[in-house]
């Protein structure tokens, strides 16, 4: 499952900017609760992606709170395409192996 949190984060941020708490809830929602990112684990993933240039962070004051919003960069978009492609290939391979009784 390596790279799954990264893929989900990039996919969700491709639609709109979000902050950590929002992202954790969104991951649960879009995966039908099948995947739950650890509440505190999302931040190193976000920071790692930001460090790699895939995300851009911006602080915003909202109702007296400081939110750090993340947006996808062009580099992040390319990374999302690459990861999605890789995931589809792996997923097809696993599905194929599960569907073939000879390989089970």
């Amino acid at each position: 499952m390596t790279g799954v949190p990264e893929l989900l984060v990039l996919r969700l941020l491709a639609h709109r900017e979000m902050y950590g708490y929002e992202l954790v809830k969104a991951v649960r929602l879009v995966t039908g609760e099948a995947i739950g990112l650890g509440e505190g684990v999302v931040y190193p993933v976000l920071h790692g992606l930001e460090h790699g240039g895939a995300l851009k962070a911006k602080r915003k004051a909202v109702n007296g709170r400081t939110r750090v919003y993340y947006t996808l960069t062009a580099k992040g978009r390319r990374r999302l395409e690459r990861l999605s492609e890789e995931w589809r290939r792996v997923s097809a391979g696993v599905n194929s192996a599960l569907g073939e009784p000879g390989h089970a």
Binding site: G38, E39, G40, G48
Partner: protein, 141 residues
């Protein structure tokens, strides 16, 4: 129950070599995350204590949070990621600063050095003039 300050986490991360920028950011975001969890729990009808416990349980222990962050090598300070480069640069900076030591010393002790310099210059001038006069007397006499 007071909100966690994440002081232990902060220390653990700094000790582990995480860049201070990411330490500050992580603490800020985790504090906000905690407040969000607590607010949602209160809105769902939990008592204040229950909401605190719920938020702490979901966020996880500080050791687990530290381990998750420390697992990301890219978040470490550059001197931890490239220790040899850091060692070379620090050594080079130290050697490069050595010629500056006498200058700094002079700047710090300017008036004293000026007094000593003026006295030495005057003494040299007086002794030089006496030696020159004696030489001249001997040669011309």
């Amino acid at each position: 129950m007071p909100s966690p300050q994440f002081n232990d986490l902060k220390l653990e991360l700094l000790r582990g070599g995480v860049a201070p920028f990411y330490v500050r950011r992580a603490i800020l975001e985790l504090s906000e995350h905690y407040t969000d969890l607590e607010s949602d729990a209160l809105a769902a009808g939990m008592s204040s204590d229950e909401a605190c416990r719920y938020a702490q349980a979901l966020l996880g222990r500080e050791e687990s949070l530290a381990a998750a962050i420390l697992a990301h090598a890219e978040l470490l300070d550059w001197s931890r990621r490239w220790p040899r480069v850091a060692l070379w640069l620090r050594s080079a900076a130290m050697v490069a600063s050595l010629p500056g030591v006498p200058v700094t010393f002079c700047l710090d002790n300017g008036p004293g050095i000026a007094r000593w310099g003026a006295s030495l210059a005057l003494a040299t001038l007086v002794v030089g003039a006496m030696v020159f006069s004696l030489n001249w007397l001997i040669v011309s006499g």
